[in-house]
Amino acid sequence: MKLTRKELLVGGAAGAALGAAGIYELVDRLGDSSPSEAASATQAPEQHLVNGLRVERKEGVEVVVPLRHHEVVTAKVVAPQNELLAAQADLAAVLAELDAAYPTTPEALALSVAWGLPYFRAHVPKAADAHLPFDRRAQKPALIDAIRFPSDPEDTNLEANDVAFLFRSDNEENIRTAATEIADRMKGALAVTSIRKGFAGQMDGGKGLPKEMATAAGVPGADLIPDGAELFLGFTSTQRNALGPAKIVNFETLGLVDLGPRSYFHGGTHMHLSHIFEDLEAWYLNQDFRDRVNTTFRPHMLVRPGTQTVAQPPSRVASEREVSRDYSRYGMIGHSSSLQPASRLQQDIHGDDGTLYPKGTAIPQRADFNTLDNPFFWSADPKGDRMGDGPAAGLHFVVFNPTSDDFHRNRLAMDGVMPGGQKLKFPPRAPGQGFNSILKTTHRQNFLVPPRRHRAFPLAEIS
């Protein structure tokens, strides 16, 4: 299936772009099944959790089936300071209406509102000083500015959005309706800065969405994506063991965070948002299957040729010493194995509610998705965001961690900077350094995700 010019183009204004699907209209045309009716579910106090996610076995491994459509809308607060409370009430009202219309299920809509440091600094600075959570381990606020990592290009844009809305659903129409509703109702209070769209393959047979979408878009290397892959890079990333369990990323769960005098953000978490270009041709033409397993998982891991879902149970989590040994022996580290000393629990931990999280349990909850944005679907600042012509293969990386520092520890480990302090020396984007060699990060920002009850202009009422 080839795209028409209309499908490749997006309108100029944010409002038009929010209502447009562009190339992503194809997701439902190419998908095997249409979304079913929304099931009812109770809204959890947490915004980042999705009820009713399906778990299926793929190649003998339990896999969480990702939601098909994803969208992130970022914005700046433009409401005058003396109208912040009114804006808070307006946003709370529209979000409550959306909650009533759409339970947080894959068929309906999962909506998370996350706030950036620029909002807290500019609009509620005193309350933020008192109530923003503090990372005890890092001895830093739980929300800090994003940084450029060793393998990032020098021009990675560290963004300064006030707020990000993350929409996830199997039904694209629900996302479009909700995003348009929020933008319309919040005119004069929020100004949209970017719109980012994408999709995930649901591994439901055939060529799979990533391959079909990339091929339709004419992305170089698209023909080489394995049939049925969940992501452009050909491996399944949502296996159950590699995703943190329900409340593990809540600020309060692992005891990493001091919630302050009123525990205002109890039930909240941290979100990192970035955009990454993926060089599919380099991935599939320069690295054979063996190389791709080595670099994605662990050097010399035994995997049957053609496997897409590679088991990573807690019992097989790599230690820092093993990553270091791989580096000494093979001159390379795997993406997953290098992350695990930072991303998996190093010991059994009882959460604040008594839940036991065994050693080896994954902490981060990823919500990343394939995109053909270049780098965004729409930008209010096309020059600053270096908007390119035509579609490009990439990933909008969305991940929930308990704190900014926890995410930074994970991401640094991916570059060979281990949580224990050891630095495995690699030139930036060296082939031995996981799959960083084919990734190029264009944008990064950290956000705080308040609990549902405080998701609209948090702290405005006590400033």
Binding site: G221, A222, L285, K425
Partner: protein, 198 residues
């Protein structure tokens, strides 16, 4: 310069073949290219495969405008290469290889410096097989990950009477993966053997 010449001549054809070459597979190596390929066959004392069609703008005339070199190793394996290059990053690059008397995929060496240490690894020169392609009398295996001068190329390899042969083309602008596969199909389908005469 090459591109300028191409534009000036109004060449928009997607093929390059000598005047003698017909649209169907000719009986032998095209007249204009034959001498060079015969010299290679004679030099290695074994059969080589001469193309009858090449992707525009290059041709397969050894010693001609697009010749990128002929090399013959001690074991008589050969590499014949043709290249059109337009800075900064457009190529049409085709390699022909032969390994007389052996059918095993050759091994390539890779050296890199990690943490101040020089590391040398050996790996198959052609890997990530993508199945067989039946092209005329040749049944070739398509490999998508290739090393050395075939890096970033799609490569077709086949065995013939105890020898291994290969043709590869670079996946790079202005060509797409699909176009390179189509070019390779056409090149391999049109190959004709040239036997040594001395």
């Amino acid at each position: 310069m090459a591109a300028l010449a191409l534009v000036a001549s109004g060449c928009s054809s997607n093929e390059s073949k000598p005047a003698a070459a017909a649209s169907t597979k000719p009986a032998g190596c095209p007249q204009a290219w034959r001498a060079g390929w015969q010299r290679v066959a004679n030099r290695i004392h074994a059969k080589v495969y001469c193309p009858t069609w090449m992707p525009s703008p290059i041709d397969a005339q050894i010693g001609g405008q697009w010749d990128n070199g002929v090399s013959v190793e001690k074991d008589k394996s050969y590499l014949v290469s043709f290249l059109w290059h337009e800075p900064p990053s457009q190529d049409v690059h085709v390699n022909f290889r032969g390994y007389p008397g052996r059918t095993k995929i050759p091994r390539c060496e890779d050296t890199e410096v990690v943490g101040g240490k020089v590391r040398t690894t050996h790996m198959p020169c052609f890997s990530d097989s993508h199945g067989k392609r039946h092209l005329g009398s040749i049944t070739a295996t398509m490999y998508t990950v290739n090393r050395g001068v075939d890096q970033w190329h799609i490569l077709y390899a086949w065995r013939d009477h105890g020898s291994l042969y290969a043709v590869s083309e670079h996946v790079i602008k202005p060509l797409t993966y699909a176009k390179v596969v189509s070019n390779l199909d056409r090149m391999v389908r049109g190959l004709v053997p040239v036997k040594p005469t001395s």
